[in-house]
Amino acid sequence: MRDIPRTLLAAAALWALPWSAAPAANVAPNPDGLPPHEIQDLDYGDVLFYFYQDDYFAAITRLLAAQELNLVPHTQGEAELLLGGLYLSLGEHVEAGRIFDALLAGNTSEAVRNRAWYFLGKTWYQRGYLTEAERALREVTDTVDPRINAERYMLLAQIMMRQGRYDDAIAVLQAWRGAPSWTSYAQFNLGVALVRKGRLDAAIPFLDAVGRLHSDREEFLALKDKANLALGFALLQAKRPAEAKPILERVRLEGPYSSKALLGAGWADASLGDFKRALVPWVELHKRNLLDAAVQESYLTVPYAFAQLHADGQAAGYYSSAIDSFDAELKRIDESIAAIRAGTLLERLFADDRNKNVSWVYQLKTLPDAPESRYLYVLLASNDFQEGLKNYRELNYMSRNLESWRDSLAAFDDILDTKRVAYAARLPKANAVLAATDLDRLRRQRVEFESRLDEIERTGDVVALGTAQEQATWARLKRIEDYLAAHPDDPELAEMRQKERLMKGVLYWRLDASFKARLLNERRAVRELGAALQETQHRAVLVDQAEKTVPADAGGYAERVLSVRNRMDALQQRLAAVAERQNRYLQALAVDALEDQKRRIESYQLQARYALASIYDRASNGKPKAAP
């Protein structure tokens, strides 16, 4: 009863993770595929308590500590698999790979092996380690859950496409079978791979099928737009504009790909020689935000179409306005590059990110309100940038975490000092007590007492266990008896002799009747005395040991505190240095993106200037100026 709901819960939670993951996210740790978890090690349950709250840093710390202290003896295999998953969640794919490799070399079930290889492969893919990713994904067998298997082959195809191995990708995708919701993605990727191999006619049915999808879901509508855009541009490149135009017109006007589609639709008309019709989408595009590359392009295509229609005046006006707009944009880009180089980009990105856990689902989705932000949204979609951001964020989190230990280390010093002081104060007292206690004499007395009891039992000396009063009475009767024995012929003593015999008999009977009980009591007392002496002896040994070990222990702890403090200092320096390198790397990515933008606009501006000059030449001389 207990395990079923938990297994389902765990399975549901863990299934949800990889399928809903945004591409730049890390892979979730995954103890799924393990036997149902009955609590065998409380400390392992404690690790899971943090793991299930997505607090992976606390979980991995506790798990490593529990392993070091041998507190998870019954759950070693599960613990190792979880540890590998936790390392993955923190982006530590090298360490995770080492653990999984060791685990997979051992005697693990196929289900566990498959899931371990799958998650390892997916993580390597996301980190750009394509060769390692392919190796891991190929280790997964086809007996794995069909949903995972479908995603596995999709990932393999994407690896091949990223490596330019389109024939391999085509083969994998043509054999691909999976859930209907994934079929469109497989068809899209297959279409793209075929186009890249120059097999446009073979690609058309696949891209066209995706381009005609019926769905209300935004993700499929976006995929549909992408397929139509890809096919439209492929047809344009193949000089088939008449076929391209209706395909491009399928792209939604309000969707994220509409600008590119408008640009392409204009080119389709222009390629067919209908510049008047081409102006319709291009002018619409011209009204949009200049940040968009397609809009920038329209600043050239609109006047180009006017020029083709011999409306030189309008063409010149648009070219002039384009040159001014490009000028202003270039100035803004230069300012943004300077701002990014000043180094405050990441600080602002993470301004509200303090005290949050390190999470595998972390992905930055919004940018700070700054002039340079408007250019950087495209960067947010880049895996390199997101992975770099995640690394930077994790480094900062770890630095804060280490810093938080400093107060604890100071407290450890205080504790050790207090222990030293207490030890110095208690030692003389303990030594005095021990010196005043002769444990050997006490032990001898106990042995003698036990021997005496043995003798009493052997001889049946019931009087020996009588009370003091009984023993005094017995002694008195003995004296009377002796007196009577000394006067055997005195008739006056006959009555006394009878009384004495009676009283002695009564006393003996009483002593004899209680003899066993009294003997047991005495033996119990001896045993208790023995135990007390043993405890005293044990404590004396402990005190003796403490006298020798406490200073050494305190010294050992002090050394450990010193050692971790030194490591902390060294790590903080490394963290700062690597975070700075990471910062520079991200800045470089951002600046590269802006430089690309700048180069593109400069190129457009140059073309606009020459086109404008050409129009002026034509107006003044009646012949065009040569192209740059």
Binding site: F49, A65, L130
Partner: protein, 203 residues
């Protein structure tokens, strides 16, 4: 504008769209990330045939090594803290586990040892959920002298029919020279349609 210029613009468009489409592919949220989209000359292909750039890998590897060292140090600090503050000869740890939870929604737990309150923990929904999934919360870690002690735990929450519910459970335990582990267990008694509260002594 002559034809040559027009072609150069057109090629530029294709390059732009290709780069944009690749980025768009990476943004796709839930389903499998689609590969880069639009056909273009291989030289300008955003998904070029290469693994991650070498310098990125080097930095990534350095970051990984560093994070591993931090994780190890954090573990050492954690172990040092536990050994120093709660040595085994006096350590008593109390854990809380929860099974199914059909008849009880946990709000808080109070623990008294020898009639002295040592822990009072209010559970968030997230924490209670982690318990239901199989997590075990170490609610108390402290020091107790060797010998006999009495632990009393009070559980409050919502019982059957969403009624306020408060129950107690007690145990007398013997603290020896090794660390003592106790588990507070909340289980469902299906036959009685009631939650059950027990304390288990892990020898």
């Amino acid at each position: 504008m002559n034809f040559k210029r027009a072609v150069s613009i057109r090629l530029g468009v294709a390059v732009l769209v290709c780069a944009w489409a690749a980025a768009a592919g990476a943004q796709t949220p839930a389903p499998p990330p689609a590969a880069a989209a639009v056909p273009a000359a291989p030289a300008s292909d955003a998904a070029s045939p290469a693994d991650a750039p070498a310098d990125t890998k080097t930095l990534d590897q350095e970051v990984q090594g560093l994070k591993k060292d931090v994780i190890d140090l954090n573990k050492d600090l954690f172990v040092l803290e536990e050994e120093l503050l709660f040595p085994a000869n006096t350590q008593v740890a109390v854990f809380l586990s929860m099974d199914v939870g059909t008849f009880f929604a946990l709000d808080s737990v109070t623990i008294k040892i020898d009639n002295k309150e040592v822990a009072n923990y209010l559970y968030t929904e997230r924490e209670a959920d982690a318990l239901l999934k199989g997590g075990v919360h170490r609610i108390y870690l402290g020091n107790q002298k060797v010998g006999k002690h009495e632990l009393v735990a009070f559980f409050t929450g919502k019982g059957p029919a969403d009624r306020d519910y408060r129950r107690g459970a007690a145990i007398t335990f013997d603290k020896g020279v090794g660390a003592k582990y106790l588990e507070l267990k909340i289980t469902d008694h299906v036959a009685k349609h009631q939650p059950e509260f027990m304390v288990k002594d892990w020898e």
